[in-house]
Protein backbone atom coordinates (compact mmCIF):
# COMPACT_ATOMS: atom_id res chain seq x y z
CA UNK A 1 0.00 0.00 0.00
CA UNK A 2 1.48 3.33 -1.00
CA UNK A 3 1.55 6.57 0.96
CA UNK A 4 -1.21 8.50 -0.78
CA UNK A 5 -1.91 11.10 1.86
CA UNK A 6 1.56 12.64 1.51
CA UNK A 7 0.82 13.30 -2.18
CA UNK A 8 -1.97 15.72 -1.28
CA UNK A 9 -1.27 19.42 -1.81
CA UNK A 10 0.06 21.47 1.11
CA UNK A 11 -3.16 23.45 1.47
CA UNK A 12 -5.18 20.26 1.90
CA UNK A 13 -2.80 18.72 4.44
CA UNK A 14 -2.76 22.01 6.35
CA UNK A 15 -6.53 22.05 6.43
CA UNK A 16 -6.45 18.56 7.95
CA UNK A 17 -3.85 19.63 10.51
CA UNK A 18 -5.88 22.71 11.40
CA UNK A 19 -8.59 20.34 12.69
CA UNK A 20 -6.17 18.94 15.29
CA UNK A 21 -5.02 20.43 18.59
CA UNK A 22 -1.93 22.48 17.71
CA UNK A 23 0.38 20.35 19.81
CA UNK A 24 -0.51 17.23 17.87
CA UNK A 25 -0.49 19.05 14.54
CA UNK A 26 3.13 20.00 15.23
CA UNK A 27 4.02 16.45 16.22
CA UNK A 28 3.11 15.37 12.66
CA UNK A 29 6.16 17.28 11.44
CA UNK A 30 8.15 14.26 12.61
CA UNK A 31 6.28 11.87 10.29
CA UNK A 32 8.56 12.48 7.32
CA UNK A 33 10.35 15.26 5.47
CA UNK A 34 7.18 15.99 3.49
CA UNK A 35 5.34 16.84 6.72
CA UNK A 36 8.19 18.72 8.38
CA UNK A 37 7.32 22.32 7.33
CA UNK A 38 3.52 22.06 7.10
CA UNK A 39 2.62 23.14 10.65
CA UNK A 40 4.02 26.62 10.11
CA UNK A 41 1.13 27.46 7.80
CA UNK A 42 -1.76 26.40 10.02
CA UNK A 43 -4.74 28.76 10.25
CA UNK A 44 -5.83 27.72 13.73
CA UNK A 45 -4.20 27.82 17.12
CA UNK A 46 -5.73 25.58 19.74
CA UNK A 47 -4.09 24.49 22.99
CA UNK A 48 -5.30 22.93 26.22
CA UNK A 49 -3.14 23.10 29.31
CA UNK A 50 -3.94 19.47 30.19
CA UNK A 51 -1.67 18.48 27.31
CA UNK A 52 1.36 20.02 29.02
CA UNK A 53 3.29 18.85 32.02
CA UNK A 54 3.69 22.30 33.52
CA UNK A 55 2.52 25.82 32.96
CA UNK A 56 6.06 26.74 32.03
CA UNK A 57 6.13 24.25 29.17
CA UNK A 58 2.73 25.48 27.97
CA UNK A 59 3.93 29.08 27.94
CA UNK A 60 7.13 28.17 26.11
CA UNK A 61 5.15 26.19 23.57
CA UNK A 62 2.68 29.02 22.89
CA UNK A 63 5.47 31.49 22.40
CA UNK A 64 7.59 29.18 20.26
CA UNK A 65 4.69 28.42 17.94
CA UNK A 66 3.67 32.04 17.55
CA UNK A 67 7.21 33.13 16.85
CA UNK A 68 8.12 30.31 14.46
CA UNK A 69 4.90 30.01 12.44
CA UNK A 70 4.77 31.75 9.08
CA UNK A 71 2.50 34.66 8.24
CA UNK A 72 -0.56 32.55 7.32
CA UNK A 73 -3.54 34.41 8.75
CA UNK A 74 -4.95 32.86 11.92
CA UNK A 75 -8.68 32.31 11.90
CA UNK A 76 -9.11 30.75 15.27
CA UNK A 77 -7.16 31.27 18.46
CA UNK A 78 -8.02 29.26 21.54
CA UNK A 79 -6.15 28.78 24.80
CA UNK A 80 -7.90 26.73 27.41
CA UNK A 81 -6.42 26.40 30.88
CA UNK A 82 -8.04 24.17 33.44
CA UNK A 83 -5.29 23.68 35.93
CA UNK A 84 -2.88 26.55 35.71
CA UNK A 85 -3.82 30.10 36.50
CA UNK A 86 -1.48 31.47 34.03
CA UNK A 87 0.35 34.55 33.04
CA UNK A 88 -0.49 34.36 29.41
CA UNK A 89 -1.03 37.00 26.86
CA UNK A 90 -1.61 36.20 23.23
CA UNK A 91 0.83 38.92 22.42
CA UNK A 92 1.19 38.15 18.75
CA UNK A 93 -2.49 38.65 18.26
CA UNK A 94 -2.26 41.90 20.06
CA UNK A 95 1.05 43.14 18.75
CA UNK A 96 1.13 42.09 15.14
CA UNK A 97 -1.47 43.54 12.86
CA UNK A 98 -0.67 41.21 10.00
CA UNK A 99 -1.53 38.05 11.85
CA UNK A 100 -4.49 39.50 13.64
CA UNK A 101 -6.66 40.83 10.92
CA UNK A 102 -8.39 37.56 10.07
CA UNK A 103 -9.03 36.16 13.52
CA UNK A 104 -12.75 35.63 13.89
CA UNK A 105 -12.83 33.69 17.10
CA UNK A 106 -10.86 34.27 20.31
CA UNK A 107 -11.38 32.06 23.32
CA UNK A 108 -9.40 32.43 26.50
CA UNK A 109 -10.04 30.52 29.67
CA UNK A 110 -8.29 30.90 32.99
CA UNK A 111 -5.69 33.15 31.53
CA UNK A 112 -4.13 36.28 32.91
CA UNK A 113 -3.88 39.17 30.52
CA UNK A 114 -1.09 41.55 31.33
CA UNK A 115 -1.13 45.26 30.55
CA UNK A 116 -2.53 45.65 27.08
CA UNK A 117 -1.35 48.62 25.13
CA UNK A 118 -2.92 48.25 21.73
CA UNK A 119 -5.45 45.82 20.35
CA UNK A 120 -6.48 45.44 16.74
CA UNK A 121 -8.84 42.58 16.00
CA UNK A 122 -10.80 43.97 13.06
CA UNK A 123 -12.43 40.67 12.04
CA UNK A 124 -13.22 39.30 15.46
CA UNK A 125 -16.82 38.14 15.76
CA UNK A 126 -16.74 35.98 18.83
CA UNK A 127 -14.83 36.58 22.05
CA UNK A 128 -15.18 34.27 24.98
CA UNK A 129 -13.41 35.13 28.24
CA UNK A 130 -13.84 32.75 31.11
CA UNK A 131 -12.02 33.24 34.41
CA UNK A 132 -9.72 35.73 32.77
CA UNK A 133 -7.72 38.00 35.04
CA UNK A 134 -7.07 41.60 34.07
CA UNK A 135 -4.87 44.09 35.90
CA UNK A 136 -7.53 46.83 35.67
CA UNK A 137 -10.61 48.07 33.84
CA UNK A 138 -8.48 50.01 31.41
CA UNK A 139 -7.17 46.73 30.11
CA UNK A 140 -10.69 45.38 29.54
CA UNK A 141 -11.63 48.58 27.74
CA UNK A 142 -8.55 48.40 25.57
CA UNK A 143 -9.34 44.84 24.58
CA UNK A 144 -12.94 45.63 23.68
CA UNK A 145 -12.10 48.82 21.85
CA UNK A 146 -9.99 46.84 19.39
CA UNK A 147 -12.93 44.69 18.25
CA UNK A 148 -15.25 46.84 16.12
CA UNK A 149 -17.15 43.93 14.56
CA UNK A 150 -17.72 41.88 17.68
CA UNK A 151 -21.06 40.08 17.48
CA UNK A 152 -20.90 37.76 20.43
CA UNK A 153 -19.15 38.40 23.72
CA UNK A 154 -19.18 35.70 26.36
CA UNK A 155 -17.86 36.76 29.76
CA UNK A 156 -17.78 34.70 32.89
CA UNK A 157 -15.90 35.11 36.16
CA UNK A 158 -13.71 38.00 35.16
CA UNK A 159 -11.19 38.91 37.79
CA UNK A 160 -10.18 42.55 37.72
CA UNK A 161 -7.39 43.30 40.15
CA UNK A 162 -7.49 47.04 40.40
CA UNK A 163 -11.11 48.13 40.48
CA UNK A 164 -10.43 51.83 40.17
CA UNK A 165 -12.89 52.57 37.40
CA UNK A 166 -11.58 56.04 36.59
CA UNK A 167 -8.71 54.49 34.66
CA UNK A 168 -11.13 53.40 31.92
CA UNK A 169 -10.96 56.84 30.40
CA UNK A 170 -7.25 56.70 29.91
CA UNK A 171 -5.89 54.74 27.01
CA UNK A 172 -2.15 54.70 26.63
CA UNK A 173 -0.10 53.03 23.98
CA UNK A 174 3.05 51.17 24.86
CA UNK A 175 5.18 48.76 22.97
CA UNK A 176 4.93 45.29 24.39
CA UNK A 177 7.52 42.84 23.28
CA UNK A 178 7.17 39.09 23.73
CA UNK A 179 10.12 38.70 26.05
CA UNK A 180 8.59 41.11 28.55
CA UNK A 181 5.63 38.84 28.89
CA UNK A 182 7.15 35.40 28.83
CA UNK A 183 10.70 35.96 29.96
CA UNK A 184 11.85 33.61 27.26
CA UNK A 185 15.39 32.62 26.82
CA UNK A 186 17.18 30.03 24.75
CA UNK A 187 16.15 28.41 21.52
CA UNK A 188 12.42 28.58 20.78
CA UNK A 189 12.59 25.49 18.58
CA UNK A 190 13.44 23.37 21.56
CA UNK A 191 10.03 24.12 23.08
CA UNK A 192 7.97 22.81 20.19
CA UNK A 193 7.90 19.21 21.29
CA UNK A 194 7.22 18.64 24.91
Amino acid sequence: MSDKISELPDSLLQHILSCLPTKQAIATSLLSKRWRPLWRGLSTFDVDDVDFKSFHSLAQFVDAVLILRDSTPLKKFRIYCKQYYSFLLPHHIVANQITVCTIQELRLSQVEVANLSHVNLPSLKLMSLSKVRFPDFKCVATLLSGCPLLEKLVLSDLDIRNKNISTVLMLEVFNIWPQHIFQLDGDHESFLYC
Partner: protein
Protein backbone atom coordinates in the same frame (compact mmCIF):
# COMPACT_ATOMS: atom_id res chain seq x y z
CA UNK B 1 -28.66 25.26 -21.06
CA UNK B 2 -32.33 24.40 -21.31
CA UNK B 3 -34.24 24.93 -18.09
CA UNK B 4 -36.15 21.68 -18.66
CA UNK B 5 -33.04 19.61 -18.00
CA UNK B 6 -33.19 18.11 -14.52
CA UNK B 7 -30.24 15.76 -14.64
CA UNK B 8 -27.02 15.71 -16.57
CA UNK B 9 -24.72 12.91 -17.61
CA UNK B 10 -21.02 13.04 -16.86
CA UNK B 11 -18.16 10.62 -17.48
CA UNK B 12 -15.79 9.48 -14.77
CA UNK B 13 -12.06 9.27 -15.46
CA UNK B 14 -12.61 5.51 -16.01
CA UNK B 15 -15.08 6.32 -18.79
CA UNK B 16 -18.28 5.26 -16.98
CA UNK B 17 -21.41 7.36 -17.32
CA UNK B 18 -23.15 8.86 -14.29
CA UNK B 19 -26.32 10.87 -13.88
CA UNK B 20 -26.41 13.78 -11.47
CA UNK B 21 -29.33 16.12 -10.88
CA UNK B 22 -28.79 19.76 -11.72
CA UNK B 23 -29.50 20.90 -8.16
CA UNK B 24 -26.88 18.44 -6.83
CA UNK B 25 -24.31 19.44 -9.45
CA UNK B 26 -24.64 23.04 -8.29
CA UNK B 27 -22.84 22.16 -5.06
CA UNK B 28 -19.64 22.06 -7.10
CA UNK B 29 -18.35 25.29 -8.61
CA UNK B 30 -16.70 23.68 -11.65
CA UNK B 31 -19.82 21.59 -12.34
CA UNK B 32 -21.90 24.71 -12.02
CA UNK B 33 -19.72 26.47 -14.59
CA UNK B 34 -20.06 23.45 -16.81
CA UNK B 35 -23.83 23.69 -16.53
CA UNK B 36 -23.64 27.23 -17.80
CA UNK B 37 -21.12 26.63 -20.56
CA UNK B 38 -21.75 23.18 -21.98
CA UNK B 39 -24.75 22.05 -23.91
CA UNK B 40 -26.67 19.41 -21.98
CA UNK B 41 -29.73 19.11 -24.17
CA UNK B 42 -30.75 15.76 -25.63
CA UNK B 43 -29.45 16.46 -29.11
CA UNK B 44 -25.99 17.24 -27.79
CA UNK B 45 -23.76 14.20 -27.79
CA UNK B 46 -20.84 15.67 -25.89
CA UNK B 47 -20.58 14.22 -22.40
CA UNK B 48 -18.16 16.06 -20.11
CA UNK B 49 -15.52 14.09 -18.25
CA UNK B 50 -14.82 14.62 -14.57
CA UNK B 51 -11.32 13.68 -13.51
CA UNK B 52 -12.53 11.52 -10.64
CA UNK B 53 -12.60 7.73 -10.74
CA UNK B 54 -15.91 5.83 -10.80
CA UNK B 55 -15.75 4.49 -7.27
CA UNK B 56 -15.18 8.00 -5.86
CA UNK B 57 -17.65 9.70 -8.17
CA UNK B 58 -20.42 7.40 -6.89
CA UNK B 59 -19.72 8.64 -3.37
CA UNK B 60 -19.42 12.28 -4.40
CA UNK B 61 -22.73 12.15 -6.25
CA UNK B 62 -24.35 10.42 -3.28
CA UNK B 63 -23.15 13.26 -1.05
CA UNK B 64 -24.35 15.94 -3.47
CA UNK B 65 -27.81 14.41 -3.89
CA UNK B 66 -28.23 14.16 -0.11
CA UNK B 67 -27.10 17.71 0.57
CA UNK B 68 -28.64 19.47 -2.43
CA UNK B 69 -32.25 19.87 -1.18
CA UNK B 70 -31.07 21.47 2.06
CA UNK B 71 -28.38 23.56 0.41
CA UNK B 72 -30.99 25.03 -1.91
CA UNK B 73 -33.79 25.62 0.57
CA UNK B 74 -31.96 26.24 3.85
CA UNK B 75 -32.01 23.68 6.63
CA UNK B 76 -34.03 23.61 9.81
CA UNK B 77 -32.25 22.61 13.01
CA UNK B 78 -33.66 19.08 12.99
CA UNK B 79 -32.70 18.66 9.34
CA UNK B 80 -29.18 19.86 10.10
CA UNK B 81 -28.94 17.39 12.96
CA UNK B 82 -30.10 14.52 10.76
CA UNK B 83 -27.68 15.54 8.03
CA UNK B 84 -24.82 15.55 10.52
CA UNK B 85 -25.62 11.96 11.49
CA UNK B 86 -25.82 11.03 7.82
CA UNK B 87 -22.38 12.63 7.22
CA UNK B 88 -20.84 10.55 9.99
CA UNK B 89 -22.24 7.33 8.50
CA UNK B 90 -21.20 8.46 5.02
CA UNK B 91 -17.60 8.94 6.13
CA UNK B 92 -17.26 5.45 7.62
CA UNK B 93 -15.16 4.27 4.72
CA UNK B 94 -11.98 2.41 4.03
CA UNK B 95 -9.33 4.95 4.96
CA UNK B 96 -6.45 3.67 2.92
CA UNK B 97 -8.49 3.59 -0.20
CA UNK B 98 -11.33 5.98 -0.72
CA UNK B 99 -10.79 8.83 1.78
CA UNK B 100 -7.74 9.98 -0.15
CA UNK B 101 -9.77 10.09 -3.39
CA UNK B 102 -12.66 11.89 -1.69
CA UNK B 103 -10.22 14.54 -0.41
CA UNK B 104 -8.79 15.02 -3.90
CA UNK B 105 -12.24 15.10 -5.50
CA UNK B 106 -13.66 17.61 -2.99
CA UNK B 107 -10.61 19.79 -3.59
CA UNK B 108 -10.83 19.48 -7.39
CA UNK B 109 -14.60 20.01 -7.47
CA UNK B 110 -14.48 22.95 -5.01
CA UNK B 111 -17.03 21.39 -2.70
CA UNK B 112 -16.60 23.18 0.59
CA UNK B 113 -18.89 21.00 2.71
CA UNK B 114 -17.40 17.70 1.55
CA UNK B 115 -13.88 19.15 1.77
CA UNK B 116 -14.36 20.16 5.42
CA UNK B 117 -16.01 16.84 6.23
CA UNK B 118 -13.25 14.78 4.62
CA UNK B 119 -10.49 16.83 6.28
CA UNK B 120 -12.17 16.45 9.67
CA UNK B 121 -12.44 12.70 9.08
CA UNK B 122 -8.73 12.47 8.27
CA UNK B 123 -7.89 14.57 11.35
CA UNK B 124 -10.08 12.35 13.56
CA UNK B 125 -8.04 9.36 12.41
CA UNK B 126 -4.88 11.10 13.62
CA UNK B 127 -6.26 12.48 16.87
CA UNK B 128 -4.59 11.01 19.94
CA UNK B 129 -2.28 8.83 17.84
CA UNK B 130 1.47 8.75 18.19
CA UNK B 131 3.72 9.58 15.25
CA UNK B 132 4.40 5.92 14.51
CA UNK B 133 0.70 5.04 14.74
CA UNK B 134 -0.15 7.76 12.20
CA UNK B 135 2.60 6.44 9.92
CA UNK B 136 1.06 3.00 10.11
CA UNK B 137 -2.51 4.19 9.39
CA UNK B 138 -1.54 6.20 6.31
CA UNK B 139 1.51 4.15 5.20
CA UNK B 140 3.84 7.12 5.61
CA UNK B 141 7.49 6.21 5.31
CA UNK B 142 9.89 7.73 7.80
CA UNK B 143 12.52 9.16 5.45
CA UNK B 144 14.66 10.90 8.07
CA UNK B 145 18.12 9.38 8.19
CA UNK B 146 19.35 8.24 11.58
CA UNK B 147 21.72 11.23 11.64
CA UNK B 148 18.84 13.61 10.96
CA UNK B 149 16.74 12.02 13.68
CA UNK B 150 19.65 12.26 16.07
CA UNK B 151 20.08 15.93 15.24
CA UNK B 152 16.36 16.64 15.70
CA UNK B 153 16.44 14.86 19.04
CA UNK B 154 19.37 17.01 20.13
CA UNK B 155 17.58 20.21 19.04
CA UNK B 156 14.24 19.22 20.53
CA UNK B 157 14.71 17.21 23.70
CA UNK B 158 10.93 16.64 23.95
CA UNK B 159 10.35 15.26 20.47
CA UNK B 160 9.49 11.65 19.80
CA UNK B 161 9.62 9.77 16.52
CA UNK B 162 7.67 6.86 18.00
Amino acid sequence: MSSSVEAITVLSSDGDEFKITVSAAKLSKPLNWMLEDVCFSDDCDEVPTIEVNSKTLVKVIEYCEKHAPRANSGASDSDAEELKKWDIEFMKMDVKDILFHILMAANYLHMEGLYDLACQTAADLMKGMTVSQIRKIFHIKNDFSSEEQEQLRRQHPGCSFD
